[in-house]
Subunit: 136 residues, 2 copies
Amino acid sequence: MAEHTGSPLVSLDPDECWRRLMSGATVGRVALDSGDGLVVIPVNFVVDGTDIVFRTAEHGVLGRAADWGRAVAFEVDELDDALRVGWSVIAQGQLRRAADDDAERLAKAVQPWAAGERRVVGRIVVERITGRLLAG
Amino acid sequence: MAEHTGSPLVSLDPDECWRRLMSGATVGRVALDSGDGLVVIPVNFVVDGTDIVFRTAEHGVLGRAADWGRAVAFEVDELDDALRVGWSVIAQGQLRRAADDDAERLAKAVQPWAAGERRVVGRIVVERITGRLLAG
């Protein structure tokens, strides 16, 4: 079953990972242990310094996790299935609720897709960022 | 900061979740605790019964996790950023290495993007599947 076809995987350095996070992608996925199994939740995000910021509902999985300060992974990718090229970036860090004085400014920058009140501004304080490029 | 705009979130029942996994999506993301933090790794996949199957390298994070039988979450989504509509499905279960007699058959069904030997066929035995629809 050896496979030697396909594209090589190349690691992206941290600067390149941040560049890709800031280059137009608006949807990422937050993975965390919800206490009831691992979950992966798509969110609209922005980069604020070296943090990743998104809005969520007060009593949802992400809102509760932000209050508790959970370890999370945040993933963004662009994968072209037809061309079999793409990249993915994973940022690992701590999810926190943004301080009140930050929350209003940040909330304006992130427009969630989903309806409903999304009062919590979650901030992932990134500790490590890695990425992989799949060149065509 | 209340938000009342945007699309309503609707839960998808398990049958609908499986239908979406089998309706043409070929890339999903496996989330797991690697022992060195949470990771989220894109893979090409197929559905085999009520399992999710993919190929990976022997000594990578997913290959090792398959040998150990780790709890994972598997996520697939289709999100249209321009239209702000889409859906996501999360399957939670145990990642195992496929039995040798299954591996050859399954390996032919899954064509990985990335180059290199990907001898391990990982099988996620799904225990719970949930989904959300973001209708326009």
